[in-house]
Amino acid sequence: MNFDDTPQEAAFRETARKWVEANAPKELHAELSKSSLGRIRLANHDIVDVGKAWQKKKFEGNWACLHWPKEYGGRGATPIERVIWQQEEGVYGKLTQPFQIGEGMCGPTVMAWGSEDARRRHLPKLASGEEIWCQLFSEPSAGSDVAGLRTRAEKKGDNWVVNGQKIWTSGAHYSDFGLLIARTDPNVTKHKGLTMFFLDMKSPGVEVRPIKQANGMQEFNEVYFTDVVIPDSQRLGAVGEGWSVSLTTLMNERMSIGSRLATGVPELFEFCSSLMLEDGLAIDDPAVRSRLASWAVKSSGLKYTSYRAISSLSKGEQPGPENSIGKLVSGMMLQDIASYAMDLQGAAGVLTGPDEETVQGQFQQMLLSSPSMRIAGGTDEILRNIIAERVLGLPGDIRVDKDVPYNKIPTKGR
C-alpha cells in the first residue's frame, strides 16, 4: 500500500508538470484557486474566451481530451494518465468548464455511434475548443424520467423536422453543436421510440432562452425547437435506438474519476477557526467540533474512495461502482454545511453584503446554489436507486408505464 507513481506514471507526471509549468496562464492562478465552489467567475475575463485559449494551447501541445484516440484529436492516453493529467493541470482545469460536456459526454457518444466522417469532422474541433457542444436531453416534463421526453422528430425525405423544448442545457448560448434525443415514434413504449441526433445550434428554428435560477444566477437555458431541420446523416445510431445511445452518454457522465467535488469542509474549518462566539472561538466549542469532525471524515472518506478508484485504474482494472457516492455525499454536505455556517452567525447569518462578517456571503451563496448539486446529473434519489440496484442487486422499480405505448401514458393533461 503506497501513494507512489509507478516509474512510468512518474515519467508521465513529470512531462505533464513541465508542460503546465511552461504554458499555463499563471496570471489567473490566484483567482482560479479561490473559486472553489460553483461556477467559475473571473473579474476581467470571460470564462469561454480564456477557456478556449487554454484548450487550444492544450490541443496544440497534445494535452486535450487525452484519453481519446490520436486521430480524433486526443493523445491515446490510459485512464490513469488522464487522472495524472487532471492532477497536474490543477486549478487550470477549471478553465475547461465550457468543454466538459463535449469532452465527457457528447464526444464519446459521437465516437461510439457516429460515422467515420462525423468523427473526423467534429471530434478534433471539439478537442481543440474551436467548437463547443451541449447536451439536449432534459425536458420540462422529463427529468429523472428522461425517457419520457416529448420533443418530436419527424422524418421528411432525407431530413428530420424537430419540434419541442429542452431545458437545463448548460452552455447552450455559447455552444456550436448539440446532442439531441427526440421521440421519433410515439406509438411504441417510451424507451423504444427515441432516436439520437446532433445538430448545429445555429440552425433556423433553434431558440435559446436563459433560465433565471432560484439562486438568482443564469447558468442554464431552455432551448426551443420550431421546425428545425436535421439531415439524416446527423443521426447517431439506428432510428428507435436512442435510449441505448444515451446510455453511452450517461455512462461517461459518471466516469469522471479523480475529479474532486467540493464539500465545503475546508471553508467551514477555516471559518470556524476565526469566528468568535460569545465564549471564544467557534472551533473550541465542543458542539461545533463534533459537527465539523463528522463532515471532515465524510470529506476524507470521499478523497480516499477516489484514491482507491485511481489505484484500480493504475492496475488496469475497471474501478468499482463506489464512485457513484461522490456527488450524493458532497451535494448534501454542501447544503448542510452552508446552513450550519449561517446558524453559527445567529441573526446576522441572513446578511449577504460584501462588507458583512460573513466571508463575503460565501455560505449564503452555497446555501442558495447547493440544491442544484442534489439534482443535476442524477438526483440524490436516482443515485440511491443506482447504488441499490447496480451495486447491491436490489430489484428495479415496478414501472407502470413499461408496457404501455408512449402516447397512452397518462400525462395529467399537461
Binding site: N2, D5, L292, S294, G301, S311, L394, I398
Partner: protein
C-alpha cells in the same frame, strides 16, 4: 498509486474469512452470547494455529512477522464474524503496548505467549465513567505496587496479564502517568465480571491491592505510550467495524430480497432501497478512511494521529448506522433474539465506546487537524 491491499494480503483475508465461516458461525457466537462460556476457547486456539494472533508480532518474539496491513485484513474478518474472543484487547491493546514500550525481557515473556494463544492480555485504562485523559487516572503506583480500581476492563475476567495505567505524579501534567505490567494470576488482584451490552466481549472490574507490578516503558511516559496504543488500536478496531458494517449491510440486503410484502420483494420499495444505499455509502466512506489509517499505521507515518481519529469516527458511525438499519429492514423479526441482527447492534454500540466515545474522538480529530494546519 497503489492504495489497496496486495494480492497476498487479500488472499490472507479470504483465508481468514473461510476459517471464520467454518469455526465462528452465528451458532458458535451464541454460545458466548447466552453466557454458556466466557469466550470461544476452541476458536482462540484455532486463531493461534492459523498464526493470526501473532501476525504482526516479529518472528523473534514468536509471531509471523508479517505486519500491520496483514493484521488489518484479519481484523476486518473478525468484525464480520462477530468473533467472541479477546482479540482486540490482547492483540490491538496489550501486544501493541508491549511492542511500543516493552523491554526485551517483557517482550520475550509475553509476546510468544500471545502468538501461541497461551496468554490473554488487556489494557486497564478506565476508572468508571469518562473518556481517556490523564486526569481520570487515579490508580496509584508507588514503590512497585499498585492500589486502585479499574473498570471497565475489556476481557478483564479472562485475561492473564494487563497493561495498567497508573498515577506516579501529581504535577497535573501528562508526565504523571506511567504504565505497568501486571500478572493477573499473581496476588493482589481481585477480578469481578460485569454485565454489559455485548456479552460476546466480556468486561470486568479489577481491584489492585498492594499489587506487585513492573514498569512498562519509562516512568512518566505512560500517557504518550497510551496515546500511541489507542491510535493504533483505533485503526485496527476500525477494520473490525468495517467488517461488521459490511456484514450488517449484507444481512439487510439479503432479507430485503427474500421477504415478500404487499405482493413484492420489500427490496423493491424505494424506502427500503434508499436505506440500504445509505448504509452502503457509510460503509464505503468508513472503508476508505480505514485504508488510509492502515497505510499510516503500517508505515508509522506522521499522519497516523489524524488518520486514526478519522478512521475511528467514520467506522464507528458506519457500524452503528448499518447495524441499526439492518434491524429496521428486518422489521419485527429483527427484534427477536433468534435473528442475528441484535448481535451486530450490540457489538456496534459497544465498540463505539471501547476506546473512548465518538465525541472524544471527534474532539481529538479537530485538535489533530488544527495541529496539522498550524504546522
Amino acid at each position: 498509486m497503489n492504495f489497496d491491499f496486495s494480492d497476498d494480503q487479500k488472499q490472507l483475508r479470504d483465508q481468514a474469512r473461510k476459517f471464520l465461516a467454518e469455526k465462528c458461525s452465528p451458532k458458535a457466537v451464541r454460545v458466548v452470547l447466552d453466557g454458556k462460556a466466557p469466550f470461544d476457547k476452541e476458536l482462540w486456539k484455532g486463531l493461534a494455529e492459523m498464526g493470526f494472533l501473532g501476525v504482526a508480532i516479529p518472528e523473534e518474539f514468536g509471531g509471523a512477522g508479517a505486519g500491520h496491513l496483514e493484521l488489518c485484513v484479519i481484523a476486518e474478518e473478525m468484525g464480520r464474524a462477530n468473533a467472541p474472543v479477546p482479540f482486540s484487547s490482547t492483540v490491538y491493546l496489550a501486544a501493541e503496548a508491549l511492542l511500543i514500550a516493552g523491554s526485551d525481557a517483557q517482550k520475550k515473556k509475553w509476546l510468544p505467549a500471545i502468538a501461541s494463544g497461551e496468554a490473554i492480555g488487556t489494557l486497564a485504562l478506565f476508572e468508571g465513567k469518562g473518556n481517556p485523559s490523564p486526569k481520570s487516572i487515579k490508580l496509584a503506583a508507588a514503590n512497585g505496587v499498585l492500589n486502585g480500581v479499574k473498570k471497565p476492563v475489556p476481557d478483564g475476567a479472562i485475561a492473564d496479564f494487563a497493561v495498567v495505567a497508573a498515577r506516579t505524579g501529581s504535577s497535573g501534567r501528562d508526565g504523571d502517568i506511567s504504565l505497568f505490567l501486571v500478572d493477573l494470576k499473581a496476588g493482589g488482584v481481585e477480578v469481578k465480571s460485569l454485565t454489559n451490552l455485548d456479552p460476546t466481549r466480556g468486561q470486568a472490574e479489577i481491584t489492585f491491592t498492594n499489587c506487585k507490578a513492573e514498569p512498562l516503558g519509562a516512568a512518566g511516559d505512560g500517557w504518550s505510550i497510551l496515546t500511541q496504543v489507542l491510535d493504533r488500536a483505533a485503526v485496527l478496531c476500525a477494520f473490525e467495524q468495517v467488517g461488521g458494517s459490511d456484514r450488517a449491510l449484507e444481512m439487510g440486503r439479503d432479507y430485503a430480497l427474500d421477504r415478500i410484502a404487499f405482493g413484492r420483494q420489500i427490496g423493491s420499495f424505494q424506502a427500503v432501497k434508499h436505506m440500504l444505499a445509505d448504509m452502503y455509502v457509510s460503509a464505503t466512506l468508513a472503508r476508505s478512511n480505514s485504508y488510509y489509517g492502515a497505510w499510516a499505521l503500517s508505515t508509522n507515518a506522521a499522519e497516523l494521529p489524524e488518520a486514526a481519529a478519522a478512521a475511528r469516527i467514520s467506522a464507528t458511525q458506519a457500524f452503528q448506522h448499518c447495524a441499526k438499519n439492518n434491524i429496521q429492514v428486518h422489521g419485527g423479526m429483527g427484534f427477536t433474539w433468534e435473528f442475528d441482527c441484535h448481535m451486530y447492534y450490540r457489538r456496534a454500540n459497544a465498540m463505539a465506546l471501547g476506546l473512548g466515545s465518538l465525541s472524544y474522538w471527534e474532539d481529538q480529530l479537530i485538535d489533530r487537524m488544527r495541529k496539522k494546519n498550524a504546522a
